[in-house]
Symmetry: C2
Subunit: 338 residues, 2 copies
């Protein structure tokens, strides 16, 4: 396994952040892998409280915590001075520091020195492994489902996590596979696929969902969007390397344009399905769409119901909002088709 | 301009290489931009002779040479010890060193020191610029032609160079745009597009063919192949960011499989045309195919003639082998369509 590895259990570091939206990485960890989260570290009494035990570094160490995860986004991505004493203490006590910050932990000499003295690791989630091979295109054993999108930031990770949970509860042997930094903290491993040099992106995707037993499902977190003028190549490489048997299209009920690219209308779901099949067939001729996942938070209950029903009729596919309706219709479709 | 820039005239460094195939980078420079090549530097009398003046570093400096180009491929890509005195002398005398080696020039302390002392540059062609933006997808002025392929290594660069030469001779205002290291030495600038982090690849392609006057043609060197299981994302990002008006498909008359990927049959030219249009339409709805360029070196004269004629009839497009037939039919098609 040559993906980036994160050791649990975790201590979630929240700095002095008081705004809930800026600790959503940490909140996601509590929501999805609460059993891996031993406690939280808050620099002030006013810091957002995730209802985990407040632990000192010494207490975390006694409880067997392996990693301090930086669970707050910083504007600019740098490391504030008032974080440093805690991070250095954690490293000295042997805890790995795990972060997806723009500033690499490994570029800060005092952190490097403290890590070296104890043997703890600095885990920069946006730094891909060094030894990624070129994609070989060989068929791997086991089943794979990839979430794709009409755009970025409309629920591909959330859909993949919801599907993983529901498929597991349904008795399917299922693993969530992470391709971005928050997903990696949840999964405990993965590769930030958009940070990989283009020559190696399909090879990186191949590492993320390795050979498995025939009945096992990997549910792979999608990135970008195949018709995106900036990030489409990320989606292309992830699709080719993932060789999915099934995919779910994620969209947003009210979005009309690619977010941040006002010249680009949102592509139709039908076009995304057709194009994903066309590209995906290269490495898996059996690829098919098994459902549509829509963020409907801007709709009322009645609007949502008719929106999803119309979409289902149009595409002859199960359509859900995982946050509201759950994923059962998509799981039924997977069972029907595979 | 934020592409990598190379200053001419050049001194071509050939080391002690005696095999012609290992100096083909330098031979390409002599063939395509002989006027930029002031001379050659050979470590031994047995070194391959490109019929350029043999110059010492001092003589090159007197003639106004600006860059020493490493024109020989090394197995492993490293820098042999017996090159070092010459490279250091060149740097000390103010010549830039330009290389596309796997070992980065900037990772060799003695070269860094010598460059620093004189102000000369170490130009690693496989190191993309640091400040590449995300692709914005905005339409740029001027016309663009991209060479695409059914596979790697079957003539996309050669076709682009041949087209540039023929279009220029035909009176069209045309510039060759380089996306790989040999192309960059010929063009004097460019970006090694396959070495760019995937998030930025379409942005890099946008930098390579900037806004220009309406009647100007950029002829852009293609990379990879859109149906390639390893390198397809490079082709995808280059296509989206180049927003070509026209493309030429490059293929090989006798190749049956993706070179090095025996499980993957060569895609049909018709599929490559259809798929290139489908993806290219995202950033240029007017994209169209203007010809097919085939490497026919394995065919006899009569076989070649009927092969190209059959292909032209099948696709209703001009079909050439630029090395043998020239590019005139494709230029006629460009004039007819634009």
């Amino acid at each position: 396994m040559r993906t980036v590895q994160i050791n649990a259990p975790y201590l979630l570091f929240l700095g002095d952040e008081t705004r809930a939206t800026y600790v959503k990485t940490a909140q996601g960890l509590v929501d999805w892998v609460g059993d891996k989260c031993a406690g939280q570290y808050r620099l002030t009494a006013q810091t957002t409280d995730l209802q985990l035990p407040d632990l000192s570094i010494a207490q975390a160490q006694e409880l067997g915590v392996k990693s301090l995860l930086i669970g707050t986004a910083q504007i600019g991505g740098g490391i504030p001075d008032n974080w440093m004493p805690v991070l250095i203490e954690a490293l000295e006590k042997g805890l790995d520091i795990v972060a997806g910050l723009h500033t690499r932990l490994s570029s800060v000499p005092s952190l490097v020195a403290a890590a070296k003295s104890s043997g703890a690791r600095l885990v920069d989630l946006r730094q891909p492994p060094n030894d990624i091979p070129i994609g070989n295109g060989r068929k791997r054993s086991g089943m794979r489902l990839l979430t794709v999108g009409t755009d970025c930031a409309l629920g591909k990770k959330y859909t993949a996590l919801s599907l993983t949970k529901a498929m597991t509860e349904h008795g399917l042997n299922t693993t969530f596979r992470a391709t971005g930094q928050t997903g990696m903290m949840i999964a405990g491993e993965g590769i930030a696929i958009d940070a990989v040099v283009t020559d190696f992106i399909s090879g990186a995707a191949e590492l993320i969902s390795p050979d498995n037993v025939a009945s096992h499902w990997d549910v792979i977190e999608g990135q970008g969007a195949i018709f995106h003028p900036g990030y489409g190549s990320v989606s292309h490489g992830l699709l080719v390397g993932s060789q999915p048997d099934a995919f779910v299209v994620c969209s947003d009920a009210t979005r009309t344009h690619i977010s941040g690219w006002p010249d680009y209308p949102l592509p139709s779901i039908a076009d995304v399905i057709e194009h994903t099949i066309r590209i995906g067939q290269l490495t898996n001729p059996q690829i098919r769409c098994v459902g549509i996942s829509v963020n409907t938070q801007a709709l009322t209950g009645h609007e949502r119901e008719s929106f999803l029903a119309n979409l289902a009729a149009e595409h002859q596919l199960p359509c859900v909002d995982p946050l509201v309706t759950g994923c059962a219709p998509i799981i039924a479709e997977i069972e029907r088709q595979f």
